[in-house]
């Protein structure tokens, strides 16, 4: 038996391909939306992997340093290093800000500025070009997503930093590319005020009789000095010794140091289940709407195409074609349309995904799920047309 659906598709392939192309673009958008979500999850995981830590020690009662702000003193890491099972501990700061690239016409880029100590957790794991930081100040390693090149000069607050190394896939949980600078510079950048504000603060302190006591020489200067320096960091990254469970070290830190400590699994949960949860729901809602729209389009197209063949269907029924054969023909056409749409959508998503500003991760598993959903949606969408076809009276073929 010949394939009626196949012959019909071949006969009007132009119409099918064009319709499938339109549907494919919609499917491409759907796959991309799923890729955007996967990209967000992957960004979060990459952020954690790249930090090279087993534990994140942050301010008590916070879920920092990525989901909430956290501030702890920069000498805490020494206490943590003294705990049993800790191999390495290092301070880090994170600050999302606009960084100006003086070498690129002052172009501004939203970045996450990371302060780290060379050779310690928090340092970028690999470089694509250039070298690691060897000077204590004013050198930076930038993710290529910032658009910076080796030798570029980045302005962070009041200082300029020379880009000496380039790395990639170093992004914040929000997808912002990272710029790595020395910890001391980063601490200063977080709290450094402009000159006018410093002068105003000093005047305010000097005007306060409680702080400016003529009978205590040097007090005012000491207060001013403490106000213009910063001894805080956002987190301490901890690497535990081989064979030691991170959770047991985290328990000790919570119990004895009155700080919050998160393991990798807990940090993933914070980033994925909490930080990007709203965005995920938003995307999920959008995906649901796209699926409904796709189903409506397929149903409408197949229904219209079937109505255009009512006389042929009546003839087919009159000459003895089974209802099952006619239903199968319509179902196969809907599935064929879905197949064309899926192929176009997959290609489209693959082509345009790299052009997105944030990472879009197109997982093969998502493509397989998407394909199955498209087929199910097309099958369901064809029921309307099948119902209309089965209601056609073969007697319609006879008479005027």
């Amino acid at each position: 038996m010949i394939s009626l659906a196949g012959r019909d598709i071949l006969h009007s392939w132009g119409k099918f391909v064009l319709t499938g192309f339109g549907l494919g673009l919609l499917i491409g958008v759907t796959l991309t939306m799923a890729g955007v979500y996967r990209g967000m999850v992957d960004d979060a995981k990459v952020l954690l992997t790249n930090s090279g830590a087993d534990l994140w020690v942050v301010q008590k009662d916070t879920q920092g340093p990525y989901a909430e702000s956290s501030s702890i003193k920069d000498d805490v890491y020494r206490q943590i290093l003294g705990l049993s099972g800790v191999a390495q501990a290092a301070n880090v700061t994170y600050l999302t800000m606009q960084v100006r690239n003086a070498s690129r016409g002052g172009r501004e880029e939203r970045t996450m500025v990371v302060g780290f100590e060379p050779g310690q957790p928090g340092e970028p794991g690999y470089l694509m070009a250039g070298r690691r930081l060897v000077r204590s100040h004013y050198e930076a390693i930038a993710d290529i997503g910032t658009g910076a090149r080796l030798g570029d000069r980045l302005t962070i607050r009041r200082h300029e930093y020379e880009v000496v190394g380039l790395t990639r896939r170093m992004v914040s949980s929000g997808g912002d590319p990272m710029v790595f600078i020395p910890l001391k510079d980063a601490q200063e950048a977080q709290f450094l005020k402009d000159n006018d504000a410093v002068i105003a603060d000093r005047a305010r302190t000097a005007a306060n009789p409680a702080l400016n006591r003529p009978s205590v020489p040097g007090l005012l200067e000491a207060i001013n000095a403490s106000q213009s320096s910063n001894r805080n960091v956002n987190a301490v990254l901890v690497r535990v010794a081989d064979g030691i469970a991170a959770e047991s070290v985290a328990r000790d830190i919570r119990r004895w140091k009155h700080l919050e400590a998160f393991t990798r699994a807990q940090m993933e949960d914070i980033l994925i289940a909490k930080l990007i949860a709203t965005a995920a729901k938003q995307i999920g809602m959008f995906l649901a709407i796209l699926v409904i729209v796709s189903a409506a389009i397929v149903a409408f197209i197949i229904y219209t195409m079937t109505l255009g063949k009512i006389r042929e269907i009546a003839v087919l029924k009159l000459i003895g074609t089974r209802n099952r054969t006619i239903a199968s023909m319509i179902l196969q056409q809907a599935m064929g349309l879905g197949l064309i749409g899926f192929v176009v959508g997959k290609i489209a998503a693959t082509v345009w995904a790299p052009a997105f500003p944030k990472f879009v991760l197109l997982e093969p598993a998502d493509a397989i799920s998407g394909f199955m959903i498209v087929m199910v949606v097309c099958a369901l969408a064809s029921t309307l047309a099948i119902r209309a076809a089965l209601k056609v009276d073969p007697a319609e073929a006879i008479g005027g």
Binding site: I2, H11, V315, L318, G320, G399
Partner: protein, 239 residues
């Protein structure tokens, strides 16, 4: 009256009533008709006389109210359908030719004809061979691989006749097959129908009010207000 039991199609006392009560309409009233294999008869009548209703009853697409129908020696209707699967009956034992060819536009000429044997479960090769044989007989074999849209009106009608003959049915019902054609082409179609009836021993009933072809019938059934009257036709030879 009872239907005869030889081959061909025979109907006796066939009636069809639409609706019920005060609004009931008797479309057919005790219709009798008999067509033997190899014979082409005309069913002639004005619009609304019951021609199409009779054709639908004969084609097993609507159920008569009462009467008897015999097809190829088998009683298929006697106060109710005697054949459980009317779809198979239509597929295997009744051929249809319509006013417009109504060929399936997405199948080529051969497959339009071969579709019926295929639907009956015959192998594709055998079905296509049968189709080619019929297309040869109808002088359209040279268009065997053509698409329907590439054929002329006359060629399309010949292909539709080939399709009607594909499963070698004992009867073909032709619903105004010459209506859209000019005199020359209409007579050509009638010549083909007569030739096919003789060649394949098929009984052919041609519903028409086309004055051009009425003289070609040897027997004519006039239908008016649901009743049929048989009369001899001129049986004029078609050149």
């Amino acid at each position: 009256m009872t239907a005869t039991t030889d081959t061909g199609i025979h109907i006796a006392g066939l009636s069809k009533r639409y609706g019920a009560g005060d609004t009931a309409v008797d479309a057919l009233k005790d219709v009798n008709m008999s067509v033997t294999p190899g014979e082409v008869i005309g069913l002639v009548g004005p619009s609304g006389s019951g021609k199409t209703t009779l054709l639908k009853c004969l084609g097993a697409v609507i159920e008569p109210t009462r009467g008897q129908m015999t097809l190829g020696g088998e009683v298929i209707y006697d106060q109710g359908w005697k054949i459980p699967d009317l779809r198979t009956l239509r597929r295997d034992r009744i051929g249809f030719v319509f006013q417009a060819p109504y060929l399936i536009p997405f199948l080529d000429v051969t497959d339009n004809v071969a579709l019926l044997p295929m639907l009956a479960g015959r192998p594709n090769g055998e079905s296509r061979a049968r189709a080619l044989e019929l297309l040869q007989a109808l002088d359209v074999a040279h268009r065997a691989r053509a698409q329907v849209s590439e054929l002329s009106g006359g060629e399309q009608q010949r292909v539709s006749i080939a399709r009607a003959l594909a499963n070698q049915p004992p009867v073909i019902l032709a619903d105004e097959p010459t209506a859209p054609l000019d005199s020359e082409r209409a007579l050509a179609v009638m010549r083909i129908l007569n030739q096919m009836a003789r060649q394949y021993q098929t009984a052919i009933i041609v519903v028409t009010h086309d004055e051009k072809i009425i003289p070609t019938f040897k027997r004519i059934y006039h239908i008016r207000d649901g009743r049929t009257v048989e009369e001899a036709g001129e049986g004029r030879e078609i050149e």
